[in-house]
Structure formats: C-alpha cells, structure tokens
Symmetry: C2
Subunit: 138 residues, 2 copies
C-alpha cells in the first residue's frame, strides 16, 4: 500500500486493516470476512482475499503459512514465532526471542540462498486442555 502510491485506500481496505489490527489472534481469510461483514455487510469474500493478499505483498500485514488447512493473517509484521493448538487450530504469538543468527547457519549448511525462517510450536491450548479434562470426568 505504501509501495504503490496509485493504490487507493478504500473503505473496504481500511476496515479490513482495522479489524485485523483489533485482534491478537491470527484469523483466517474467512474469519476476517466475518469480522468485516459486521461493519460492511455487502463486502465480498473475494475482496477480502484480494486485499489481504495485496497487503501481505506490500508488507503491511503478514501472511502465515502455518500448519492446518488455511492461511492466516497477522497485523504484526515484526518477526516473531507462533504456537498452534492441535485441537482447535488457533494460533497465538509466543514471546521467544527471534534467532536471527540461525539464518546464517542454515545458509552455510545448505546450498540455498536463505531468506528467513519461522518457528512454529505445536501443543494444546489451555481451553482445550480444560475441555479435555472435563470430558474425562463425564
């Protein structure tokens, strides 16, 4: 968006960005669609996809290609890691310091031009853990 000045800041884009910024979760395109639709009932799912993609390309949001079937989006662009619940699928940030030095190690150990890395932890979130325990009781 900053990158190409001829890009217009439409109401749709503004609201998508606002809604994404409101949450600390990492919603899927569909979840963003649901959020935005409360304020802009006539918006199309295609518009949401198109603009999330566009914003990710221009670097103002982050597209997460984490495990699970769907892509997720993140308004926080500075590097950080994620943890995903294997039970409900939700993705949270995790405050582990970013290891920028391992990129260099990776470059040395492979014949790739290394551009970055991502760490994804997998586990069970507290809600699902609790739910599971309650299920065992019944």
């Amino acid at each position: 968006m900053q990158l190409t000045p001829q890009m217009r800041l439409t109401t749709q884009r503004q609201i998508i960005l606002e809604e994404l910024g409101k949450v600390t979760s990492h919603p899927t395109a569909n979840e963003v669609y649901d959020m935005v639709r409360k304020r802009l009932p006539r918006i199309g799912l295609g518009t949401v996809y198109r603009n999330l993609e566009l914003m990710a390309d221009s670097g103002i949001i982050l597209k997460l290609e984490v495990g699970g079937t769907q892509k997720r989006f993140d308004a926080t662009v500075d590097p950080h890691y994620h943890i995903r619940c294997l039970s409900c699928g939700k993705v949270d940030d995790i405050a582990i310091p970013v290891m920028s030095d391992i990129n260099k190690t990776a470059a040395d150990l492979s014949n790739y031009q290394v551009l970055g890395h991502h760490i994804e932890f997998a586990g069970i979130c507290s809600e699902c853990n609790k739910a599971e325990k309650e299920e065992l009781i019944n």
Copy 2:
C-alpha cells in the same frame, strides 16, 4: 499400523512406504501417487491419501504441514528441520541440530501444553537461483 493389529499390510501400503523411503525429497500426495502408479497402475489417488494419512497417524511416516498449498510426506521420522524454496516449492532437509530445549522455554512463556516444534527456513534453491540469473542475461 502397529497400533491396530487388525490393520492389514496390503500391497498398496507396502509399495507406498517403499517408494516414499526411496526418495530424500518430501513428495506431495500426488507425487507419491505418480511414483506408486508406475508399479501399481490401477491404484486410486484416494488410497494414497488414505494410507499416507494413516501412516502419519500411526507415526511411521511424517506429515509436513509446511508453507505452500500442499501437504508433504517424509519417511524420516526422527526430528529434523526443513528448508523450502520459495520459487519452485521443493522442500529439503537441513542439518541444523534440533533444539529440543526450546520446547520447555515455550511452555514457560505460554499457557499451552507444548508438544513439539518445527523450524522451516525459506529461501531460493541453487537450481532456481541459477535459472534466475540466466533469465537476467536473456
């Protein structure tokens, strides 16, 4: 497969496992299908999906939910990290020592029951790098 004794070791399963073991790449279900079909021309794609899923569940192979649109499968089950080419999408192993200790750190920093983690590097493989340079010349 080991888990449920009534599960049969069919020809299809045997060959899927053999073919997956032959390669060091991390084929998608479709690529496995292509490999297996050379020896078992009448196998169905569904059978491949079904059995890869089953083997992943029982722990004899690994299902990689890395970036990109497709899931990939790996006959090597001991923990290791991956590097993915952003240009052609292929996934290689990378010999960076596994940091098993960061799971504990993650558990301390989150309210998840942490079960594991995965690191995925992103970059451009040597083939794509070369191809890109040649393209610049022309």
